[in-house]
């Protein structure tokens, strides 16, 4: 890594999976981490960081609530005196359903968390970055933000929207030292995907055209987020970094 400066970083959705692995990686390089999650288990991630000698706090937060997101940004500033980078990672994965059978509640939940949640986070973070002089944001999209999987229409729509919001914010604040990029992970071994990965029929369908033949470990995503949040990515803006073992190259 090119910078040894300790930064204050906000991460949503860090109870498990990609968010947890990334929070641990930020902390390992000396960053102060504010973890926001609706899932109280994310407190364990913060505790694990502190036990290892790092600095982290947990703030319970439902990203669909704009005011709650603001409290996380304020909490990061109160605890660590700064907010330099953010990883907007909280998301929900719906059960597969044909588009014509998707109920309103399911559609709204996906759009509220995966789309509006990221929007709320960017609003709060960018408002601060405009005052502080800049910062870096990384949003978790998905390969479903680039291609489509069957029976995942609300998720595909929301993740395409994350890619769109990322580009929109990147272009809008490009001259104000705010960089906004997205990652597009393929299938990752997380509690969110565990049921799928344990289903033989799903695995067969999933890996039919996935040439790597495996899912990523959450730790394999963390490096991409660290890079995009760092000054080493100073000219990288509005980009989508795909981490999918070749899934979208075919």
């Amino acid at each position: 890594m090119t910078s040894d400066v300790s930064r204050s970083v906000m991460i949503t959705g860090a109870a498990t999976g990609i968010g947890r692995a990334t929070a641990l990686a930020f902390a390992e390089r000396g960053d102060r981490v504010t973890i926001a999650d609706i899932d109280a288990r994310a407190a364990d991630t913060a505790a694990a960081i502190r036990e290892a000698g790092g600095r982290a706090q947990f703030i319970e937060c439902d990203v669909t609530d704009r005011a709650a997101v603001q409290r996380v940004v304020d909490g990061a500033l109160a605890a660590y005196g700064a907010l330099d980078a953010a990883f907007n990672n909280a998301g929900v994965l719906p059960k597969p359903q044909p588009l014509h059978e998707v109920d309103a509640a399911s559609l709204n939940l996906i759009l509220d968390v995966d789309l509006k949640g990221v929007f709320h986070c960017m609003q709060a973070q960018i408002s601060h970055f405009l005052e502080s002089g800049g910062g870096a944001i990384v949003n978790t999209a998905s390969v479903a933000g680039i291609i489509a999987d069957p029976e995942m229409s609300p998720y595909v729509a929301a993740k395409h929207a994350v890619v769109g919001m990322t580009k929109a914010a990147a272009v809008e604040y490009a001259t104000r030292n705010i960089r906004v990029n997205a990652i597009a992970p393929g299938l990752v071994e997380t509690p969110m995907t565990r049921a799928w990965l344990e289903d033989d029929a799903f695995r067969a369908a999933m890996f039919q055209h996935n040439i790597s033949g495996r899912a990523a470990r959450p730790e394999e995503i963390a490096g991409t987020v660290l890079h995009l949040c760092s000054d080493a990515a100073s000219f990288t803006n509005g980009a989508v970094f795909v981490v999918d073992g070749g899934h979208t190259a075919h």
Partner: protein, 258 residues
């Protein structure tokens, strides 16, 4: 794996074409700064000497090869010599490239100029990828990083016409996808970087009108220093990108997002 180990390339052997200046020199520096040994390949012997001096000061072992990437025998020989001297080839940057010798519209385009650009920008990348991957198949893995361009993803004539450059860079992007798939199960990651406007010899950046056009096109409102490619180079050369293959990373200050 700690955060620092994720980006570690110490003890690795890197081969960089177009290392005599610009992005290639920055990529070579990024490798040397992080503990790799570097073989540098370029047409320009003076540029190579300057790069080698920089890398040696960083403590790297350095080899230099004056040659043309369009000549497969020269590329094969350089890769073979690199392996003979350094013991392996872990990281290859197929970075050498040229712009259209006479930028212009296709109905007036000179065939020799077209073939020249195809020879360097596409055939050169083929030569380097083939030679490097042959070695990586023997050792069980590696990283190939091809320099494409944002003009491998979009036409350029809203700013200036570069038909051969754009065609070849688009080909590099799709060759990268194909090779990413071909070697996905061989532990060889093949990826492309798509730079936007970087302050290199490839464009007339000392021309005020050109500078105004390119900064106006770039949302960040500036051109990049070549050093700003180092982070992406290190990311794609290190284990940070072990699940990343067949992709094209845009480093363009927001140009392709608009």
């Amino acid at each position: 794996m700690t955060a620092n180990e994720i980006f570690d390339v110490s003890g690795k052997v890197a081969f960089v074409t177009g290392a005599g200046s610009g992005l290639g020199r920055a990529m070579a520096e990024a490798m040397a700064e992080n503990g790799a040994n570097v073989a540098c390949f370029d047409l320009d012997p003076e540029g190579l000497t300057e790069t080698a001096t920089l890398l040696s000061r960083l403590g790297a072992d350095v080899l230099t090869f004056t040659g043309d990437v369009a000549d497969e025998a020269q590329v094969d020989a350089a890769v073979a010599e690199t392996v003979a001297r350094f013991g392996s080839l872990d990281i290859a940057f197929a970075n050498a490239g040229i712009g259209d010798p006479e930028p212009g519209f296709i109905h007036e385009y000179d065939s020799a100029n077209w073939r020249k650009v195809v020879d360097v920008n596409l055939n050169g990348v083929f030569n380097v990828n083939r030679a490097a991957i042959r070695e990586m198949m023997k050792t069980g893995g590696g990283k190939v990083i091809n320099t494409a361009s944002m003009w491998g993803l979009a036409g350029s004539s809203s700013v200036f016409p570069l038909p051969a450059y754009n065609a070849t860079k688009g080909a590099v992007v799709n060759l990268t996808r194909e090779l990413g798939l071909q070697y996905a199960r061989s532990n060889i990651q093949v990826n492309a970087i798509c730079p936007g406007f970087f302050l290199t010899a490839l464009g007339p950046y000392d021309d005020a009108e050109f500078m105004e056009a390119v900064t106006g096109f770039t949302p960040m409102g500036r051109v990049a220093d070549p050093a700003e490619i180092k982070g992406t180079a290190l990311y794609l050369a290190s284990s940070a990108s072990d699940f990343v293959t067949g992709t094209a990373l845009v480093i363009d200050g927001g140009c392709m997002a608009k």
